[in-house]
Every structure is written in structure tokens, then in C-alpha cells.
Symmetry: C2
Subunit: 422 residues, 2 copies
């Protein structure tokens, strides 16, 4: 997995996560290990991956291959330079992996769309008429995307109060959204659509993405132009980008698309998806009062206060639209994507309640509070929406044909809202 | 007005529009005319105004003052260097004035919101319940904003066909939107709202902005997350940015806001707006068949084919929300604005039909075709939405206390849609 890290005065530059160490790609390049490849090694000294990504898919392939080769055979090739090129992750500060020009958020998780429809339009078809025809999406805010580990301040905002009059203050319905974020690897010129059969060439890699949402702000503001302040106070991107090619072993048949999409969304082959496990882990604020700050797995031992609780288990295969279809649709009107853009999938919920990708769904919009038995019976053991001090971590991994891939994690802790001006 | 132009091998750099000439600010800086000012003159050699803007308001004021001084007194101070520093605009290529990080589109024109409400919800209150409480907005696409003069390709897209089934093809309802675009002059850190009384310090300048819209694509896609492909195929920004301070003589009392907005939107003084005339000029495609390409005013003589037609006259004072309120609201949840961001106002329509800022309104969603008498009686004299080859130009100016200000123009010609993949 590629990312940007810093640990010494040379500043942020590119690295490759390998277990609990980071392979310093700038150092590897300076030592000549990329000299016979068609890559300018200075791209690894930059503070974002954009220039490396813009070098093109043949370069990604060559660099991927060389890194695998160097790490194979117990890293014998790196023996003499081990201390120069391996940095323990505890010594590193992680940064946003890419400079993000534009961020688009799709709505490609069909069970999420159905769940939201049932909550807000109980007497109608839960899916809106366009859902199975269009990968619905909207533009989000790129400037407020932060790297995993950055705290998220609870937003203030306008919402409808108990007497149905607007009030301003801290959101009372702060939520997470379990998503994947694609990192765009290739730019298309304005006016030139990307055909669906070529669309995967435009994906550099995949991240975990938490599209934090203030449901009360969103509900009051979103008609008629969509979400705005309910979303743009912050979104969290994982620090490490999984090369898209590494997902190949986990590719599987996508869900049946009925009715068949229009030709511009229909490739020469049936759409595929990826069998990747996703989970949402909550470390409740109240659980932190013992000061343990433990990061042990929720399943690793007897539950105790301070332990993380897995509150949802989902899978990337619940996405209705394929990655290729997202890109073909996005560019079908000529809209230009740029290297480093983030295309988030939308919330990925499964069919069963334990697989929902947001608290809105998990708590039935607050009507069925979530009990956190693992943290014991006390005031902090119930959630409708997030409390200050709660930490949400999204994790992902795949296991297929005897191979495991780790998608890493994206994590953030909720800070109390800023004092509001009166 | 500040902008970015190129005319020689030195590449795009900053200029100041003065009549039909451009004062070359890089040349002025190199000649030492800014040496006693607190500005690094190299900012004027860059291909975007961002570094100049980021230098801060005291620098804008000092540079504005020096430019006025140099241009006063029949430019005597520049006599010896006249040929080095004045470039006739016919020799220049104009570029986007800023590198745009994020683009937000508001909905602050209340008559536009009412007109759209009447068209699409004829039996309900034309304004949605949130309108007078929130400056409604959504995020648009920054990557597809182009400079005035760039042709706009008619988008292909998915829309509902005559039998209410989705079809894909060229938009049949291509429209313009008459807007102003604010250029953000100062960044606020993520998590730190800008108080409404300080908000104007965050505006560097004002542009004309055409938010081209494909109404049929938009109508089918926009539920529940707002406009996407109906907008992001292209938006046009004027090449020249009017310094915000230059608008001061045109400031006037804003519309009465009833009910009173919540305190975070209420400054220590009543909101103000700006009395700036805006107009929409259509040069119909059919009018070009005589090859005249005339740019004469529609009122300057007898109408003839090829003449531009003023199809709408509006005014910036029709905005319901003040610029300060747009910024205070946008940042109220902690969202960070960056130097060079564009905040567009939304369509600025007046009360009377001749003052509407979009063809959607002017033609009653196609039900009352617009007749263009000035171009004669022929097939090209009727418009519901835009035809290929049509050129739309938005212009603006103010006149108050004996002073006139020119806001320049933003113009674009519609190209036929790209061939669709089958």
C-alpha cells in the first residue's frame, strides 16, 4: 500500500506499507533500486502521490513489481540498507496520500439506499425510480478531507428544533458512513467520456473512506440541491492506498442488474465487484475512562470497558454499480476526472441489520438505540448517534485463493463542537 | 480587473485590464514599480492569481492603489515603458484567473427559487420551507470550470424519454444560468467558522459566472442527492476579476429578511447587496449564417440577422442572501475555504419575466417559447432551450454617484454533442 509519511527533517514523501514498517520509496529511489525502471525516482520525494500516479499505469506496474521483488526472499536485496529504508510505523507521521482536486460521492450501495428510503419514505417504494438506471452521485468537499487519525470536530449547524423551528448548535445526529474511496489514476480531457470497458484503467487504487454525516443538518438543508453542510465539515481517508491491481484475486460477479442498464453503462462483460470484508469498529467515549486506550480486537478476549466493539460487518460486494460504471457514468457527459480525485462509493450496507454501514440505519434513525454489550452496562453503552470522544474505525480485508489482502483502516475521534457565536 | 493572460513565450502571467489594453503586472513588477510595496513581485509571473491573492488584503490594497496611481494622470509615469507594459487585448490569450480548489454554487436568488418552485411544484408554496432560513447551496465541479470564450460541448446524458423510459443522448434542454462568482481571498482553517461580520474580508473579487445546466439530465438524476451530470460538464468564469473593494460605491440595502435569520447569519448591521446591472445576451446560431459575427449591441441600430439579442436584464440586488451570509453559513460547521475557491451566487432573476436569469424561467420550462424578434422571422428565431451554435454572453456593470464600473463578460458558444458510444 502506498502512502505519504514523514519521520525526519526531509519532510513528507512516499512510502510503501509493509507489515508494521514503511519502506521509504524516496530512499529506495536514491539508492538506485529504480534506476532501470521507466520512472523518475524524484516523484517519490514529493509530498503527495499525484506525480507518481500521473506517470501512468506501466510505471505503477513496474514499481509494484520491483517493490514485491525487493520484499520477497526475506528482503535479502535490502539487507545492507535495511536501517536506511525501513521505518517503523510508530516513528512516522502519516499524511493525505494524494492532493485531491475533486471529490465525488456516489450512492452505489443499494441496501443503504433501500434502508434510507424505508426510514424517510415508509409508504413508498424504498428505491427512487432512477436508482437502478443511474449511479446517483453528488459532489462533495475536497478541502475538508483529512487523513486517518485526524480528529473530527462535531459540526455546529442549523436544524429543526423540537417545535419545528430552526435552531443553530452542535449536531445531535452525528454519524459515520462506511465507504470505499477510489483514487483516480488517469485524467480524461474535458468533453471526452471514458468508455465503460476502459474505465478500470482510470483507477490507481482503493482506500477506506468515512463520509461523516450530520443527519439533522442534512435533513433540513438538503432540498432541493442535496447535502452540503451536513457533510462538508470533514471526511476521512485512509493513509494507505491499495493498488487496484492487488484486488484482482477478490473480483467476483456483481449483483444482477435488472433492468439492464443503458448501453453506455454496459460493458462487453458482465459487471464485477470485489469480495472484500469491511467492518465498523466503535471505541466508545465512555469506554476510554479507564485510560486503557486499548486497540485490541473486539474478539480477542473477554469484553471490557475500553475495548473496541465491532458494530457492523459488511462487504464491498454489496455495491450495486461496478467501479467501471461509476467512472463511465461520471464522464458520460464529458466531465473531466483528474489524477488524485477521490470517487467514494457511498455507504456500503449489507442486507442484515448487523451489516449496515451507518448509525442512521443501525439505530433506525435513533428509534432502536444500539446496545454495546461489550462495554458493560452503563450510560455509555447505548448509541443512537455518535458521542463526543467516540472513535470510529473502518477496516477492510480480503481472503481468497489462499491470499489475504489488508485494506488498512481509517479512524477518527469525535471532538466536542466549537463554541457557537451568539 | 485582474486576470491571467499570455501573449509571448514567457507564458501565462498576471495582468490588469484597462480599457482595451492589459497592463502587464509581471513587467510592471520587473521594472521596479512595486519595489516599495509589501508585495513579492514574482507573484505576478505565476500562471494563476492565487499567490497574489494569498499575500493578503493589505497587499491587494497597496497594489490596487499603485495601479490606480500609475493609470491616472494619462499614465504619465508609464510613458517611457508604454510599449513594454501595455498589451492590446487582441494580442492576448486569456486563461482562468485562479486555480480553483473547490466550487460551491448557492441558490441565493429568491425570484429564481420561486420561479423554479412554481414550475415544478405548481400546487405548493413556491419556496421550500428552508429557503428563508438557510442560504441553500451544493458543491459543484471545479475541474470543469473554463474561462470565458471556451466553447461548451452539449452534454450527452440520461434523461426520461417521451414514454417515460430512460434514454441516453444529447441533452434536449441545455440552459445557461446568470450568476456572480466570488473569488475567495483568504483561507480559514478547518474547524474555524468565519463570523458574519468578518466575512467580507474573505472575498478577493467578483466575476461573472455561467452555470450551464442540462435541465433534462438534472431532472432525472437529482433525487435525492442534488445536481450532478446536469451541471458538471462545464461552467464558465469571466477572465477578469473585479476587486471586491471596487464594488463599494454600488453597495445598497439588501432585501428585507423575514423571518430574521438566526444569530450566526445576523451581522451587527443589516445585510447589504450591490446594485449591479446584469444582462444576458444571446447570439443565435441561425444569426451566424450571414457570417457577420457582429458584436454590436442589440439596441445600437436596426435589428438584423447575426445581431446579439439581450434576452434578460437583471440586477445583483435581487439576491436574497448577502455575500457575508453565504460565507458565514458555508463555514458555520467548520468547513474550510481556500484562496481561489469560487462561490457562485445561484441564478439571479428579477421579478418581471424580462429579468429572468435562465431559459428554464424565460420559456416557462419550454411551454412559452422565446421569440427573438431582433433576428427576424425564421426558424432560428424561437428558443425554448439553447441550440448548437448559440453564443451566450453575460455582462455586468454598475453606475452610481457618477462612477461606472464594468464587470466584464463571460461568454461561451454551444458545440454539438459528442457522438455517443452505442
Amino acid at each position: 500500500m502506498y502512502g505519504i509519511f514523514s519521520y525526519d527533517p526531509s519532510g513528507p514523501h512516499a512510502g510503501y506499507k509493509y507489515g508494521d514498517h514503511i519502506l521509504d520509496l524516496a530512499a529506495i529511489g536514491a539508492l538506485g533500486f529504480f534506476d532501470d525502471l521507466p520512472v523518475d525516482p524524484s516523484v517519490f520525494s514529493r509530498s503527495a502521490l499525484n506525480d507518481f500516479i500521473a506517470s501512468g499505469k506501466p510505471v505503477w506496474q513496474a514499481v509494484n513489481g520491483r517493490i514485491r521483488q525487493l520484499l520477497a526472499d526475506d528482503e535479502a536485496a535490502l539487507n545492507l540498507v535495511r536501517t536506511q529504508v525501513f521505518i517503523h510505523e510508530s516513528r512516522a507521521t502519516l499524511h493525505l496520500p494524494v492532493q485531491i482536486g475533486n471529490y465525488t460521492d456516489f450512492y452505489a450501495g443499494i441496501h443503504h439506499a433501500e434502508n434510507v428510503g424505508k426510514l424517510f419514505r415508509p409508504d413508498a417504494d424504498p428505491l427512487l425510480p432512477n436508482y437502478r438506471h443511474i449511479p446517483v452521485a453528488y459532489h462533495g468537499r475536497a478541502s475538508s478531507i483529512v487523513v486517518s487519525g485526524t480528529p473530527i470536530r462535531r459540526p455546529n449547524g442549523q436544524r429543526l428544533g423540537p417545535d419545528n423551528q430552526p435552531v443553530f448548535g452542535p449536531s445531535q445526529a452525528l454519524d459515520f458512513e462506511l465507504e470505499l474511496g477510489l483514487i483516480v489514476g488517469r485524467s480524461n480531457p474535458l468533453g471526452e467520456p471514458v468508455p465503460v470497458d476502459e474505465a478500470e484503467d482510470y483507477i490507481f487504487g482503493v482506500t477506506l473512506f468515512n463520509d461523516w454525516s450530520a443527519r439533522d443538518i442534512q435533513r433540513w438543508e438538503y432540498q432541493p440541491l442535496g447535502p452540503f453542510l451536513g457533510k462538508n465539515f470533514g471526511s476521512s481517508l485512509s493513509a494507505w492506498v491499495v493498488p487496484f491491481a492487488d484486488l484482482e484475486p477478490f473480483r467476483t460477479t456483481g449483483p444482477t442488474q435488472e433492468p439492464a442498464p443503458l448501453p453506455y453503462l454496459r460493458g462487453s462483460q458482465l459487471p464485477t465487484c470485489f469480495n472484500l470484508n469491511l467492518e465498523v469498529v466503535l471505541q466508545p467515549a465512555s469506554g476510554r475512562s479507564d485510560g486503557s486506550g486499548s486497540h485490541a480486537s473486539a474478539n480477542a478476549g473477554p469484553p471490557k470497558v475500553g475495548t473496541e466493539v465491532v458494530i457492523s460487518r459488511s462487504n464491498a460486494r454489496y455495491l450495486y454499480w461496478s467501479f467501471s460504471q461509476l467512472i463511465a457514468h461520471h464522464t458520460s457527459n464529458g466531465c473531466n476526472l483528474n489524477v488524485g480525485d477521490v470517487l467514494a462509493t457511498g455507504t456500503i450496507s449489507g442486507v442484515e441489520p448487523g451489516s449496515y454501514g451507518s448509525l442512521l440505519e443501525l439505530s433506525g434513525n435513533g428509534k432502536r438505540p444500539l446496545h454495546l454489550p461489550d462495554v458493560g452496562e452503563h450510560d455509555g453503552s447505548i448509541r443512537t448517534f455518535l458521542q463526543d470522544g467516540d472513535t470510529v474505525t473502518l477496516r477492510g480485508w480480503g481472503f481468497a485463493h489462499g491470499r489475504r489482502i489488508d485494506l488498512g483502516e481509517v479512524s477518527g475521534t469525535v471532538l466536542p463542537a466549537a463554541k457557537t457565536p451568539v
